[in-house]
């Protein structure tokens, strides 16, 4: 058992690189995810992660390079463009916000896929890698990108914590006390896009989406206060990373996929057995109430 846990660390440096990157991305996603969840904008993460693909392609078209900063800038511009169009569209009386999300991100994504297969075919952007990630073969570039982006994102969240909290729970109150709600909103979108792009190369789009949505949803079943919710969200993210990565090594499968599946299983556990809001406890409570 112990050899099984220790051995992968001795097979070369990919284990600690993978573990470090995945955990950092997971923590950033889990924290941002809580705020998105509270704003009922979880699915915007899905949209922004898809939109980052055309962002990267656009950056390459304009600058001809794929350096970290260029890539981030391109993705942020396109991501904000997408977030802005979603908001403008959902203000039309005959388009609901979920339809607006669906229209914008699928169109952007389709454009990205087409550009990738025609104009920028020789850019060495690997669609497969962007979607599925390559956790156990992380490049220096991806590692440095994550190492710089994640501390910055977490630091900004810490600095603007009060603004974020107030505008997530009660945007009208926040606006009334003078918090720039719109700026905070777009700042959050930028943070999500930047994290998604940094996480892309390392862990893939699907894992970024899952790490933003699932930990926050799990934490909401376990916590009643924002601080504990963020803590649970981080715990969920880290546990699924460690268990998922070991699982992937043990049964020789995709690390990103395994981490997502473990995260989903943890959510199911919380959904059923959470101490206050779990379904099993709920059923037990109604039954004892009926008997009394």
């Amino acid at each position: 058992m112990i050899t099984w846990l220790v051995d992968p660390w001795m097979w070369g440096d990919w284990m600690w690189r993978g573990m470090l990157t995945v955990n950092l991305v997971a923590i950033a996603c889990a924290v941002l995810g809580v705020f998105l969840y509270l704003r009922r904008m979880s699915l915007l993460a899905d949209a922004l992660a898809h939109v980052a693909l055309p962002g990267i392609v656009a950056a390459f078209l304009v600058s001809g390079s794929l350096d970290g900063p260029v890539m981030l800038a391109g993705a942020v511009v396109v991501g904000l463009l997408a977030a802005g169009s979603i908001e403008t569209l959902s203000r039309r009386p005959n388009i609901r916000s979920d339809a607006a999300i669906g229209i914008v991100f699928t169109s952007f994504f389709a454009l990205g896929v087409i550009l990738l297969s025609t104009v920028v075919r020789d850019a060495h952007i690997d669609t497969h890698c962007l979607i599925f990630g390559d956790v156990l073969g992380i490049s220096d570039r991806a590692l440095w990108l994550v190492l710089t982006v994640v501390p910055v994102v977490l630091g900004l969240v810490a600095i603007f914590y009060r603004w974020l909290t107030a505008s997530s729970f009660d945007p009208r109150f926040a606006a009334a006390v003078g918090i720039p709600v719109v700026a905070v909103n777009y700042g959050l979108m930028t943070a999500v896009t930047v994290t998604a792009v940094a996480g892309f190369e390392a862990v893939g789009a699907i894992l970024v989406i899952a790490l933003i949505i699932v930990p926050a949803a799990t934490a909401h079943l376990l916590a009643d206060r924002l601080v504990t919710m963020i803590a649970w969200s981080i715990v969920h993210a880290i546990v699924s990373c460690w268990v998922g990565l070991y699982l992937a090594i043990a049964i020789n499968t995709s690390a990103a996929g395994a981490i997502v599946v473990v995260g989903g299983a943890l959510y199911l556990l919380a959904f059923l057995f959470a101490p206050r809001h779990g379904r099993v406890v709920g059923m037990w409570r109604t039954r004892s109430r009926r008997e009394a």
Binding site: R40, D46, S107, S117, N252, T253
Partner: protein, 301 residues
Amino acid sequence: MYLQRAQEFFAFQYDFVAHALGASVLVGVVCGLVGSFLVLRGFSLMGDAIGHATLPGVAAAFLVVGHQHPAALLTGALVSAVIAAFTVGVFSRGPRVRSDAAIGIVLSVFFGIGIVLLAFIQTSATGMQAGLTQFLFGNAAAITGPQLQVLAVIGVVLCVLIGLHYRPLALLVFDEGFARSVGIKTTRLEVGLLAALSVAVVISIQAVGVILVAAMLIIPPSTGRFLAGRLPGVIAWSMSLGGLSGALGAFISYVFEGVATGPAMVLVATAFFGLALVFGPRGGLVWQVRLPGARRSREAL
């Protein structure tokens, strides 16, 4: 060169061109119909979740059957699509779960299971796995004649079934409370709508792929809402523009090498949406900018 390829396309020299065209039009029409009800019901992103959720079914079916048998793969896709729809329903019914989060969870976790299974297929050296990634972005040209016939029959049956339940469905999407009060079993009807969605997604994924099928469910109906004010009109516009997008998408994908059918179709649909958003008679931007006087006089009335 492009002109020559365009001529080739219209000459239908090759069977696969006709099949790709047929499959793409079918996708546009069926998704346009089912999507109209979904978009009006506020279920737009269910299509996204169900589309992603077909991946584990396809992969599992491949693992069980051992080779690419289209019927088996699509049956697998249908099973996992139905399970996913059911799971979203169970999760989002709870008091402490938000329905958008439920959609996101099902979407990402099912896709994750699919990736795990795909990785298994790739490591077990059957050598036949190459075709499975086609399901990600779709490849209409790979559809054979007999397959297209089966898909078309399923599509027609689905459209007829929806046509038969048109009135209750229309009541459900506009006013659920009223529908229930006149004795319509709304829960059962909603299950039926989600089943129809699953079937529509499954017959579409070969042509547009699992990631972009949501677009064909959301964009044409949203376009229709700018062009017509009543449900039959919205559905008619949605189905015809969906079909037209499919046809043009297949054409573009044939003429320009390297362009997959799915993304091409989606971009055509988006172009139509953009036109409708600007020029559409119902809420198009042009009418609001150019006729402020008209609006004022209406308000005066």
